[in-house]
Amino acid sequence: MEITSILPEECLCLIISLTSPEDACRSAMISHASRSVANRDEVWERFLPSDCRSIISGSSSSSLLSLGKKDVYFHLCFHPILIQNGTMSFQLEKKSGKKCYMMGARALSIIQGDTPAHWIWTSLQESRFPETAELKQVGWLHMRGKIETKILSSDTNYAVYFVFKLRKEHTTGFTQRSVGFHVHVDKIDLREVRMVSLDPLRDESQYIRERGDGWMEIEMGAFFNNCGDDGSVEFSIWEAHTNYVKQGLIIEGIELKPKDIAS
């Protein structure tokens, strides 16, 4: 007699749900009985965020609701879904099940963003959003956004990332010049300012990372989200030396995801 015959399935589900998504997948390998427990909805429901159902129903992928919970979990880990009329995306971080949000360019306030002489809105295949903002020419680069801490996962260290790329040709104003990044959470008195170049010299490139999905990212700042009652997180990006004309920046958006522990 061993554990899977001694304990009822509801207890086994509780035990697996107290491990982690990774452990739940590994425990499927133990025996046929453990696999049946490890794949149960009762287990994966606990790994999904509690408001998952309402997020999915308000998204453009509401058909996910018909899938088993484990399939929903993995779908959300590897495929961001569009919410808020295609201006934001939502996905999960696979190891922890924590929520990741990306605000697309349309969800940000871009100064002069509606002026075609300065910014054009295009559809790019590599973008997850229906529209990305492409910089034609601007002297004063300034964009802002904010997000409520209450929609984020509680008890989590979040980092804010600027997701972008630079056009190969006709890009000016960014080489070896710094852009200002600002993250501000009023209620916890957090104010982070960083000056980073989007097109730096080789040995200054430690702040920019290739994401692996065709875009680059820069960490703008980080904060700890306690219970989500810290109001809103505001972020802004600026480069206001109007003497230097800037061209060629393509914005995918600003992403909030749990701060990497390992890498």
Partner: protein, 246 residues
């Protein structure tokens, strides 16, 4: 007769009778329900729990009731430690406690005991878990590989510096590996020759993809193919410890 607290009588599966304070007994939602919906003076039968286990459970309930009511001067950290010691029992007793907590509906005890078992599973490989709980592997090699593929992301290498796990895969999985899984095998930049010799010593006629991790972790990983040799089906895990050139 003049007692300040109500007592409830409980009879176990092995006919032992316990007289307990109501406040302690009703930590069990099951007992609470029976008491409130039945005759308050009669003895409540807890058929599925033995005397030994009930005795332990009552200790737990008493400790928690007293600490919450301030009757016992115990800090949250001390209570946490008391709980940790409470579950330091052999596996069979632990399972009996889980069964009883489930049947008696004592949520905090069920969470505590299940978390204890969960901690024995976390971070362990399937073979280790089988040994811990004496579970028989009832998979065929093919079925095991199918389940492994089904859950492949959970088997990515998690080793620290100097440790590496290589999975040897059947032909078709290998090609899938190369083309679309970014999170597959990761190798520390070590003396490749040493490593290759180790592989060839232990695993003849198998082919492997080796990824070199550059010193700067933000630059993309470079794939370096090893000489292709015939691949067999099935798989083994290989563990290497070697010096890492930083």
């Amino acid at each position: 007769m003049g007692s300040t607290s109500t007592k409830i009588k409980l009879r176990t599966s092995d006919q032992k009778v316990f007289e307990v304070e109501k406040a302690v007994a009703v930590q069990s939602q099951t007992i609470k329900y029976i008491y409130e919906n039945g005759c308050p003076d009669s003895v409540i039968h807890v058929h599925s729990v033995s005397g030994d286990i009930l005795s332990k459970i009552l200790d737990y309930c008493k400790k928690h009731v007293n600490s919450a009511a301030g009757k016992e001067d115990i800090s949250p950290e001390e209570l946490y430690e008391w709980d940790a010691n409470f579950v330091k029992v052999d596996q069979n007793t632990l399972f009996d406690l889980i069964l009883a907590a489930n049947c008696l509906k004592i949520e905090s005890l069920l969470d505590l005991t299940c978390q204890t078992v969960a901690n024995m599973i976390k971070g362990k490989r399937p073979e280790e878990i089988r040994t811990t709980f004496n579970i028989k592997n009832d998979y065929t090699i093919e079925a095991e590989e199918a389940v492994r593929r089904e859950n492949k992301w959970a088997f990515d290498m998690l080793g620290g510096v100097g440790t590496m796990v290589i999975e040897e895969l059947a032909d078709d999985t290998m090609s899938k590996c190369v083309t679309n899984t970014k999170s597959r095998v990761c190798v520390i930049a070590a003396n490749q020759i040493v490593m290759m010799r180790s592989i060839s010593k232990l695993a003849n006629k198998k082919s492997i993809d080796v990824y070199k991790q550059p010193q700067n972790p933000t630059t993309p990983r470079i794939k370096e193919s090893v000489k292709q040799r015939n691949v067999g089906t099935g798989f083994i895990e290989l563990f290497f410890h070697f010096k890492c050139k930083m």
